[in-house]
Every structure is written in C-alpha cells, then in structure tokens.
Symmetry: C2
Subunit: 201 residues, 2 copies
C-alpha cells in the first residue's frame, strides 16, 4: 500500500500518541512497542518511524503529555492560604494525580531509556513547570528578596515528596508499609516547613 489520505499528518500524530498513551496507562511502559502501536492504528511499523525518531522519542512525547496533564492538574488547585495549607493542597493534588495515572506517571519517575543521551530542552522545560508552582508556593516564607532560598527549599522539599512517591509506587518494596504515602508526604512537608520557621525565629 502507498500513500493514503485516511489521516493528515497531525491526525496521525495524535492517533499514535493517543494509542501509545492508552497502552502505557493500561499495561505499563514495557508494553509500548512499535509493532504494537502500528497494529492498533492499522498502519505498518515504518509509519511510526516516519513520525518519531525512535521508540525513545515516542515514549518521551507520551511522558510530555503526562507532564502537561499534571501541570494542568496542580494549576487548578486553589491557592492563597498560608504556606502550610497551600503545600498540603498541592500534595493532595499530586497524589490524586498519581493514583489516577500510576503507569504514565510511573514511567516518568523511572529514569530509563535514552541510553545516557541528554533529554531535549523542550522536555526539560515541561519537567520544570510543576516545580515552578512549588517554588511559588514557598515564596511567602522567604519574602520577595528570598527567591533563591525559596527556590532551594522548594526543590529540596519536592524532591523529598518525589522520593516518597517513588517508594509508594514500588509498593513491593514495602518501605512505605501500610502507611498512606500521601500522609507520609504531609508529615514530611509539615515538619520541614516547621523547621524552616523555627530557623527564622
């Protein structure tokens, strides 16, 4: 078969991404293969490679969608309470998103693929966005001239929450045990912030 007009290039791109996302969400990133996607959309393997450089590229675009969704999700959280309340709300939204998208989000937390090649800038920018929300939330604790220190504290804290999330996903490790990861993250947040406040006083 040769050239078709079933879908425009953009439609095809969306079709592939939708399908890939569905596969990852339902069966995990390991189930994402070029042949599988091509079969599901009714095109041949080669078509996937007309649209993406390689499988890593495709999975990176799937991850990018998930990052977009996460950003939208935490952007929708009402803010403006005191710092503690804001962070707890952020955390709730984060774990809410995580439990709703365990496989797609899990594929991001894994540091896999890319064979050591650096991640492209457009992707790094998407990773940075959710962090920026956290940094914003931290700002009141340091005042407008404390941007750098607020940034640092925000990064530290959110890497910490991230660590709990990772552990929770590999429930097999039983590190989190029967505790709720969400509560654990709350506990980390509250004590970290209290520590920061105590340091100022």
């Amino acid at each position: 078969m040769g050239r078709r007009s079933d879908h425009s290039r953009d439609e095809l791109l969306a079709l592939v991404l939708d399908t890939a996302e569905k596969i990852v969400e339902q069966e995990g990133i390991a189930a994402l293969t070029a042949r599988r996607v091509s079969k599901e959309i009714g095109y041949s393997v080669g078509t996937i490679y007309n649209l993406f450089d390689n499988l890593d590229d495709l999975s990176l675009h799937v991850k990018a969608r998930t990052l977009d969704a996460l950003y939208a999700h935490i952007r929708a959280v009402p803010m403006g309470q005191d710092v503690e309340q804001d962070f707890l709300a952020l955390n709730a939204a984060y774990f809410d998103f995580l439990s709703g998208n365990p496989n797609t989000w899990g594929s991001i937390l894994e540091r896999v693929g890319a064979d050591g090649r650096p991640l492209p800038d457009w992707y790094l920018a998407k990773v940075a966005l959710p962090f920026s929300v956290v940094a914003e939330t931290m700002l009141p604790l340091f005042g407008p001239d404390g941007r750098d220190r607020a940034d640092y504290a925000a990064h530290t804290l959110w890497c910490g929450v991230h660590g709990i999330a990772v552990m929770a996903m590999e429930d097999s490790l039983e590190v989190v045990g029967n505790h709720s990861a969400r509560e654990m993250a709350d506990f980390l947040i509250l004590n970290f912030l209290r520590g920061l406040r105590a340091a100022k006083a």
Copy 2:
C-alpha cells in the same frame, strides 16, 4: 563440549556475579546481557541459565550485592552523637557510597524489570536493612516508648533523601541544578528534625 571441571558450581556463581557486577558498574544495567556475561567468562549462554532463573534473577542478585555493600558502608559510620550529627554522618556515608557506585546503586533506585512480579523475600530483607539503621538513629528523639513514631519519621525522612538522590542521578533533569545533592539532603534532614523538635516543645 560437555562437563568440565574448571570451576565448582560456587566458583562459577561467583565468577558470573563478579563479571555481571563489573559490567553494570562500568556500563550500566542496560549493558547486562546473558550473552555478554557468558562470553566474558568463557562459557556458553546456557550456563547462565543453569545458575539463574533468568536475567531478572541475575540482576537481582547483583543488586543484592550492592545492598550488602551499602549496609556494610553505613554500618561502619561512627554513631552516638546527637541525632542531628548522626543523621548528617549517615547522609555523608550514603552519598559517598552513591558517588562511588553510581551505576550499581542507580540500578537499584530504578524500579524496572520484574514485569510486575513481586520481589522475593530474601531481597526485600536486604532492602530493609539500611532502613533499620536510619530508624535506630531516629530513636533518641522519641524515646524508647516511641519506636513506632521514630520508625515512621525515619521512613519519611529517608524516602525524602532517596528522592533527592534519584533526582541527582538523573542530573539531566537539572532539578537539583548546580546545587550539591548532598547539601540538599543535609538541608532536608536538618529542617525536618528541627520541625520534629519544635513540635515537641
């Protein structure tokens, strides 16, 4: 070729594990293939499968060795100062180990392989050991009747440190930026502990 007497079964096991560990440390977990190991030790592929169930099983045993080494490393840290000092010492030892074994340790932090099959108990036990040291260190802050709460705090904190370590390993994400991950973890530890102390007072 048939039966040989070059190595006993145990010698062969050690030979395979040594070789596999070397490969993972030098080139990362992705470079660990059955054929590669068999070639390096001068046996055929089949021999690997005489010794291990499959590749996952082999890599699990390599990871187990790394966990043993980490446990020994942090066990050697002198303890008994105040809680803050002890934790900072633990943290220093942890990041020291991490920077000395980035690939082997990184392969543990990744949650990969095992296709969703649960990890075997003997492996989970090895994962729990380093955590137990952390829990021990936390105990003085809660007193002898506060074991459970100390455990919980220790798990929370160390998952947090773990998150920073993961982020630091994927330096490509630039989340940690030019900050030292070690310092970041120190910062998290100190403020978390200060928060705990402030909550008691």
